[in-house]
């Protein structure tokens, strides 16, 4: 499809409207050089190497849009001359010592462009800048001397990550990148997301893992290196020979640096990237433009948080409890013990006395095998996974209304929506990369943003409208807004007529949700509620993003349902840029349930109670599957207390710290006859086990994960399992086979093939179709067609219509007057959950060594609390001891306790066993406590190097206009013209 034709160097070429010259040229033989342009960042216009002539005028190819009939000149002398001037200016700022440079891995844009332009010398010699290297950040360093001021890092920081820390100070004699208002990196608002080092075209901004490690000669002492660079420069006979040698060296590096694609395990966004390793040593994480969910984006955990893989604390051998200690044992002994105990308990108490908990950190294949072990080998449906702790209510709400329990579209739909409503989600910290897409669209495209939360977190700070309804009252304002929209006649009547059932009954139930009632229940004003309704009405597309602030309540499923109802009424389903987005918290929360680790559902969410479905599996597995749904996590713990659950096999979940009311959970563990825990570390949970099995993390195995977009992605093995640890799928198979399972999977793809045959949602999934960065969003048809946007041809119910599902408000639990502090809780950006993995990173630990209690200024003043004051919070279920941090992120008597502690400050010592009435997901967010001061003076729990103290400096991009306005700047095109004129 082309819109018009133009001429390039005299020959006719088809071009499209809105296409830049550079874009057009990428597929053509007439290439222009370019350094600062990056496909994911767009034109930055700083490097001036892509200059061409259009209709006789010099322009930058990266930013010039083509018009009908344009005549483009890319190779005349004048054009080449202008390009070379651009390159010369870059080389003034960058010393070419490629062979001893850690960035000499074939991807250096400067190296490659110098080579491509066949430059042999520079006319203005390299000149050092008067700045020291900034080594202060634990993860990356900035060398101003090598920085060519292309501004890619600034562009990424300002407009992709949108943390808005970096800028180039164009006013100095020698400009450089600065952090905030020019402070050391480690004292700035930098969140260490790694975007800057990922997009840097050279070695200026570099991951510390690469330093002195990547090259054969880069590990040389600094004192020796300098003269070496001088020698290289002194003997240079033109760049040609230097580049040839460094190319050879770069090729040699391929021999020992392995680059493996993997998928991040830290949240549900599903970032994929290459991991660079030298043996077991991780040099860096390199995101790829092709990565479907994240592109070039990462957060601090995905980019820099992998030290746990090589931690000395990793379990390397099975452990068997013996008296009051564990002893290391052989696999043979451990597996035999498990087999004999499971058999014994099954014989004595029946299959239902055993329970299985699968992990949302493990692969789809491992989830499938775990439920197959429970159902097919042991004969029980007592199988669940830890999404029970977070997102099951959202799935329930979507099953009730639209029929598929997953995000309606992709992250790209969130990006392009006109209106984003975020409810109960600290997206910038819990789903950092997904949040960047909202922040970017909001900043650059005028996307509207409404945030409903208790805390004034980053998204709230950025919102056009930030509302703070009373804790647990979201269902009320959502329903009132829905009612108001219907009353005003703003509903999408056509959509409702054609695609939705149950409107009348729904309307009736809505009667009680008047504005007056909502004002009373939520504390929001009528104007605010009307404003929300108007905003939704005026937006052509809307997405609702929600997380634990909605689901972890007693009415979590109902509130999720109310969200979906609102979207149905306004016609925000079944097209691009709209829909419901329950943000999945772990890498494979989605997949763990998708592949059947649920007590009432088999893979693909087919019901255990459905005879036909059971028959299908019974035939395939050659066993009988019990027809009654099994116990969920919550019921398993209760079952242990009751005495009818005797054994548990749990993998990849520190349930003993992340389940609510952990004192009660720990008591249960103590009552188990036999407890098997499979994990990387001797976690709090594992400490209660009879047998602990050493598992391998994602980097040591193959498999697939499914992210929040329903996107199935493959991970490849980066390194061998540590010690005697094993991938979970192998361990499960070993156990199954000792119990007579007779399984014979030689590779995870065998497991996927079996699942794909049985589970309709994944019918067309195969490892071939998922190769490299390829991915599939379920449902996947047998021919491999996937579904990036759900419901475009109706809803998966019998008449293809969605259902409006009436729901009522469940008021939050009252703990009694003495418990006057509302304890909100959740994640931090830099730690994953309790921190079993992230505390193994020295860098993360240095910036966030422990948890802290966020306290409002009002409460601090009232109680005489300072930064660092040690307090005790006590709920009816337990108490925590924690140091305070005063902040304006919380207000009044609401405090926030992040969950990154597994000791005395572990939040779940306070939480109750109350749960969502429909799914048993713990009501973590309904927690109150009383507060007492233990010690008034104490060290501030948050080091000054934490980004939360930073001072961001928002601007659009790199502000290249300031560069152009400098007295010493002359556009290379003008320079060429001037010279030509002088010479006549």
């Amino acid at each position: 499809m082309s819109d018009f034709s133009i001429k390039i160097n005299g020959s006719e070429v088809k071009a499209n409207k809105d296409q830049t010259i550079l874009n057009l040229l990428t597929d053509r033989p007439d290439q222009v050089p370019h350094v600062c342009y990056h496909p994911s960042l767009g034109p930055i216009e700083t490097c001036d190497t892509c200059i061409v002539k259009v209709n006789g005028e010099f322009v930058r190819a990266c930013s010039t849009i083509l018009n009908d009939g344009d005549e483009v000149d890319t190779n005349s002398d004048e054009v080449k001359e202008a390009q070379v001037i651009g390159m010369d200016r870059i080389l003034l700022n960058h010393e070419l010592y490629c062979t001893v440079c850690d960035y000499n891995n074939g991807g250096c844009e400067i190296h490659n462009t110098v080579k491509e332009m066949k430059i042999n010398h520079q006319s203005i010699p390299f000149d050092h800048k008067p700045y020291e290297v900034d080594h202060s950040n634990p993860f990356y360093r900035y060398d101003p001397d090598q920085c060519i001021l292309c501004g890619r890092c600034v562009e990424a920081c300002q407009d992709v990550q949108v943390t808005e820390t970096l800028s180039i100070d164009w006013d100095r004699e020698r400009p450089r990148v600065i952090w905030d208002k020019d402070v050391p990196i480690n004292e700035s608002s930098c969140v260490s997301c790694g975007h800057c080092s990922t997009v840097c075209p050279c070695n200026a901004m570099m991951e510390k893992g690469m330093e002195g490690e990547a090259g054969y000669m880069t590990g040389i002492n600094r004192e020796t290196l300098r003269p070496m660079i001088e020698i290289t420069k002194n003997v240079e006979t033109g760049y040609g020979s230097i580049l040839a040698i460094s190319d050879m060296e770069a090729a040699m590096r391929e021999q020992r640096i392995k680059k493996t694609k993997t998928v991040c395990t830290y949240c549900g966004v599903g970032c994929s990237f290459d991991v660079w390793t030298k043996g077991r040593e991780i040099l860096k994480v390199e995101p790829q433009i092709d990565a479907p969910a994240n592109g070039i984006s990462t957060c601090v955990k995905g980019k820099f948080g992998w030290d746990f893989v090589n931690s000395e604390e990793r379990l390397t051998k099975p452990l068997i409890r013996e008296g009051d200690s564990f002893r290391e044992a052989s696999w043979e002994e451990a597996l035999n013990l498990i087999a004999s105990k499971f058999t014994e308990i099954k014989q004595k108490h029946g299959s239902q006395a055993l329970s299985f908990i699968s992990s949302s950190k493990c692969t789809n294949e491992e989830s499938y095998l775990m439920q197959k072990l429970a159902r097919g080998v042991i004969g029980t449906n007592n199988i669940d996974n830890c999404s029970r702790y977070c997102q099951t209510p959202a799935t329930m709400g979507l099953f009730r209304t639209v029929g598929h329990g997953g995000d309606s579209g992709s992250i790209k739909d969130i990006e392009k929506s006109e209106l984003i409503i975020i409810i109960g989600s600290n997206t910038a910290e819990s789903h950092p990369v997904l949040a960047t897409r909202v922040k970017r669209s909001h900043k650059l495209r005028g996307q509207k943003l409404i945030v409903a939360d208790l805390r004034k977190h980053e998204m709230a700070d950025r919102a056009d409208l930030f509302i703070q309804p009373k804790a647990g009252s979201d269902l009320v304002w959502l329903s009132a807004v829905t009612k108001y929209i219907l009353d005003q006649g703003w509903a999408d009547q056509e959509f409702l007529n054609n695609h939705v059932n149950g409107l009348e009954e729904f309307k009736q139930n809505l009667e009680k949700f008047t504005l007056e009632y909502a004002v009373e229940a939520t504390g929001l004003s009528q104007e605010t509620l009307i404003h929300i309704a108007e905003t939704i009405h005026q937006s052509k597309s809307a997405c609702v993003l929600w997380a634990m602030g909605v689901t972890q309540h007693r009415g979590g499923s109902d509130t999720s349902t109310a969200i979906s109802n609102l979207l149905l009424v306004t016609g925000n389903y079944g097209r691009p840029g709209v829909g419901s987005y329950p943000l999945r918290g772990h890498n494979n929360v989605q997949g763990a349930s998708d592949f059947g680790s649920m007590p009432d559902r088999l893979p693909s969410y087919e019901k255990v109670t459905d005879e036909k479905v059971r028959a299908k599996y019974e035939q395939a597995w050659g066993v009988k599957i019990p027809e009654e749904p099994g116990l969920n996590n919550h019921e398993m713990v209760a079952g242990i207390h009751d005495g009818h659950v005797k054994a548990m096999y749990l993998k990849g979940e520190d349930m003993g710290i992340v389940d609510s009311n952990i004192n009660y959970v720990h008591d249960a563990y103590e009552k188990l006859d036999f407890f098997v825990v499979q994990d990387l570390f001797l976690t709090i949970t594992a400490q209660f086990a009879d047998v602990v099995l050493p598992a391998s993390p994602s980097l040591e195995k193959e498999g697939t994960f499914t992210n929040t977009e329903r996107r199935i992605q493959r991970l490849y093995q980066v390194m061998e399992p540590l010690g005697d640890s094993k991938p979970d799928w192998q361990i499960i198979q070993d156990i199954a086979n000792r119990l007579g399972g007779n399984w014979n999977y030689t590779h995870p793809s065998d497991i996927m093939d079996e699942a794909a045959q049985l589970a309709p949602l994944f019918a067309g999934v195969s490892y071939e179709r998922l190769e490299g960065y390829k991915s599939l969003q379920w449902p996947v048809a047998p021919d491999g067609t996937d579904t990036p946007i759900l419901f475009t041809d109706g809803f998966p119910f019998e008449d293809r219509k969605a259902k409006l599902y009436p729901v009522d408000w469940t008021e939050p639990i009252e703990f009694g007057e003495e418990y006057d502090i509302h304890v909100n809780n959740g994640r931090l950006l830099e730690h994953f959950h309790e921190g079993n993995m992230t505390y193994k990173s020295e860098g993360i630990t240095s910036k966030t060594p422990n948890t802290f209690l966020e306290i409002s200024h009002e409460l601090a003043e009232e109680r005489g609390i300072k930064d660092g004051t040690l307090v005790r919070l006590t709920s009816p279920y337990g108490s925590v001891k924690v140091h305070c941090l005063i902040t304006d992120r919380v207000k009044g008597k609401e405090v926030y306790l992040p969950m990154n502690d597994s000791g005395e400050a572990a939040i779940n010592l306070l939480t109750s066993s109350y749960a969502d009435k429909d799914t048993d997901t713990p009501a973590y967010k309904e927690t109150s406590a009383k507060l007492e001061i233990l010690q008034e003076e104490g060290a501030n729990p948050l080091p000054k190097t934490n980004f939360r103290y930073g001072n961001p400096q928002p601007q659009i991009g790199v502000a290249v206009e300031k560069k152009w306005a400098r007295k010493d700047y002359i556009f290379p095109g003008d320079a060429v013209k001037k010279e030509r004129n002088q010479h006549g």
Partner: protein, 187 residues
């Protein structure tokens, strides 16, 4: 009642056991790579004889120091100049077209052979002899060749020189087919 415990007794392998295991591993590796190892030993023997092993030992043992000294020594003007000259000469050699040079060299060789035959004589050549000898086809050809050579030598080579700072305009590029190409001449 299974209380939480943290103590772990490491599977202690006795020193003797570990040694046996390690030895076994080494033995396996030796057998698997028998041929390569035998040959390596032979090479090492030669290196021992020639004193290379002890030289390398000293070099690697004091690696950082040696490298530092070497690098600093190299970083002296006369030394960097040597390397530079070498690189330049290499580059120049690369430019010579041996195909063209071959007949020229053969001719020089023939000339030398003739000179060797003649030895020293008292024979003198006068102006007329010179003019007369132009008629000798062999001599005539030699002089024509020499004159062409002188013409080539007189050409302006500045744009091709690697040793001077260039400007974008004068820049000379080495193209893929290893011939020089000049921006000024290129249209």
């Amino acid at each position: 009642m299974a209380k939480a415990i943290k103590n772990v007794h490491k599977l202690s392998v006795s020193e003797e056991e570990q040694r046996t295991k390690d030895l076994r591993e080494v033995e396996d590796a030796l057998i698997k790579n028998k041929q390569a190892i035998m040959q390596t030993l032979e090479i090492m023997n030669h290196m021992q004889d020639k004193g290379i092993l002890s030289l390398l030992n000293g070099l690697f043992g004091q690696g950082d120091k040696v490298l530092d000294i070497a690098v600093k020594a190299m970083d002296k003007p006369e030394n960097t100049n040597t390397i530079k000259n070498l690189l330049l000469l290499l580059g120049t050699l690369g430019m010579i077209n041996v195909k063209q040079l071959e007949p020229f060299l053969l001719k020089i060789d023939a000339g030398i052979a003739r000179v060797a035959e003649y030895k020293d004589t008292d024979e003198k050549t006068g102006y007329f002899d010179l003019v007369k000898s132009l008629k000798d086809p062999e001599i005539n050809r030699a002089i024509t060749i020499l004159m062409q050579f002188l013409k080539g030598m007189g050409q302006d080579t500045e744009p091709f020189e690697k040793t001077v700072q260039d400007t974008p305009k004068k820049r000379t590029n080495q193209t893929k087919d290893k011939t020089l190409e000049n921006n000024e001449k290129r249209s």
